[in-house]
Amino acid sequence: MSELKAAADIKVGDRLLGWAASEDMRSRGASGGLVTAVLAAALETGLVDRVLILKKVSEFEAYPVFTSDVQEVLESAGSMHSVPVNLARCLKPETCAGKIALPAKPCDARAVVERAKRNALSPEGTYVIGLNCGGTMHPEKVRKMLETVYRLGPEEIAGEEIVKGKLVFFTKDGKEHAVPIDDLEAEELGRRDSCRCCQVKIPTNADLACGNWGVPGDLAGRGTFVEVMTEKGVNLLKNAVNSGFVELMQADERGISAREKVNKVMLGMSEKRKAEVFVPIEDGGERFEYFRKELENCIHCGACKEVCPVCTCGEDSKCTFYSSPADSYKISLFHLVRFLHLSDSCIGCGQCEDVCPAEIPLTRLYQRFAVPVQKEYRYLPGISDRTPPFFALKPEDNEEKEGGGCSCR
């Protein structure tokens, strides 16, 4: 094993392996507790004022809270695949004064970037610790899976983890129950639909990109692979090493290529699923009929807009303010405005679909508008700091279409 990395040597672009220095944190967090330790260190040393975490109620329930209590950060540790919350939505001008750090899935990190472009938060004061994500699961579906496939009760569960394409549940009696995710997905269980179509698995737009892909066998489960993406990321890690919370070492070539390979496989699966879901519909009346049918059960509760992480309009938004039931004879103004609004900004995180009480597949609908537009402008939202194409002052501003971070399309 090579020697530990000194804090002064950390720079942007480094690929490292790390773990929490204290035994307690290692046992709490998954994969060596690196992320928990970095967050705790940032809070302890005053690098950030508050940390945004998920406060755990059970394996299936958690809610986002801002905290400056290190103990609470330690308690929040865990992968929580069955709590698909988008933390970025909590970052509003009125709530995120001061410096903040948060752990973020790729979709959270993308939402943070998009919210920063819309002045909902200051990018300098927000430290984003990205986590690799192969997908999350809807809590309701997890319960159904437990009942029908695993034959377990929800109260028996002590934890879960996704290991090598298998979803593993740990029960309180210390046993492991593993089922391949492909088998679950064949029965429309398993990951959420938006996750199965997701096209960013490694959050290279965050300050740090952490995850267990690329961790060598002898460290499996005890170490985290971390790529340093920005200067803010360097600060986070330096701070954590200097305060003795984290130990780091250089990652080897094999680990780096293994990580790339996992990423490639995951993205390939997403492409396949996307081709299955987004079947082209003929131009014209038929396509309109499809949208009308899907939206016919909408009760106009507005929950999809309320939870949308890229929408920063607040209370007085065009979509709700001018929409009237009297004009919503075939389709409502609310949806038309949302379709346009999201055509350049939808990150496909699936929050809208999760909260919809009428079970409308909203993410699919929004993505139908977003994909062609984002392709045309070569703009993938939430990846770079390029101005969204809709905000361009001149058509030419969109013509220099390179550099939107759209290489993965």
């Binding site: 009346g285 309109f288 001018y322 409502s332 103004l333 405005v337 379709f339 508008f369 001149k394």
Partner: protein, 148 residues
């Protein structure tokens, strides 16, 4: 007696909401009248101070309330009374158009044209052309039933 559905369709004439910029196409409409250029009575003109004042909400509301098409007109590029308003219109327009196309509306139902204050003849010609295109397409799918 209720008219048959066919009768409504036969009596159907396109209704087009037209947004005219105060500084050019609105005066162009005057010019078309003064010059006695013939044009169909299909337009419902709304005057705006600049074509960039037209918000997507205005366009969608027009469609939802029964317009068969929406025509936005403004000054030629470079002639904007407010420096570059019409360039912003162009960006917005391209977004609205691809969104409506994806929704299943024909491309001709949302149009953008630059007409200056002195182009009365062009104004009448554009009105004739757009009306004819929309007449070929028939009523919009977004039109509420029972609205002529």
């Amino acid at each position: 007696m209720e008219p048959e559905k066919n009768e409504i369709y036969e009596a159907w004439e396109p209704k087009i909401v037209m947004f005219c910029c105060n500084w050019c196409s609105y005066a162009g409409a005057d010019g078309a009248g003064i010059g006695r250029f013939q044009q169909p009575a299909s337009m419902r003109i709304i005057r705006v101070m600049c074509s960039s004042r037209v918000d997507p909400v205005h366009v969608f509301s027009a469609f939802l309330e029964g317009a068969d098409a929406v025509l936005i007109t403004g000054c030629h590029l470079g002639d904007c009374h407010y420096i570059n308003g019409n360039e912003k219109t162009l960006v917005k327009f391209s977004f609205m158009r691809s969104m409506l196309k994806e929704l299943g509306l024909e491309e001709e139902r949302l149009q953008l044209n630059w007409i200056s204050a002195s182009e009365g003849e062009k104004f009448a010609e554009v009105v004739r052309k757009v009306t004819e295109q929309v007449r070929q397409l028939g009523p919009s799918v977004l039109k509420p039933e029972g609205v002529a």
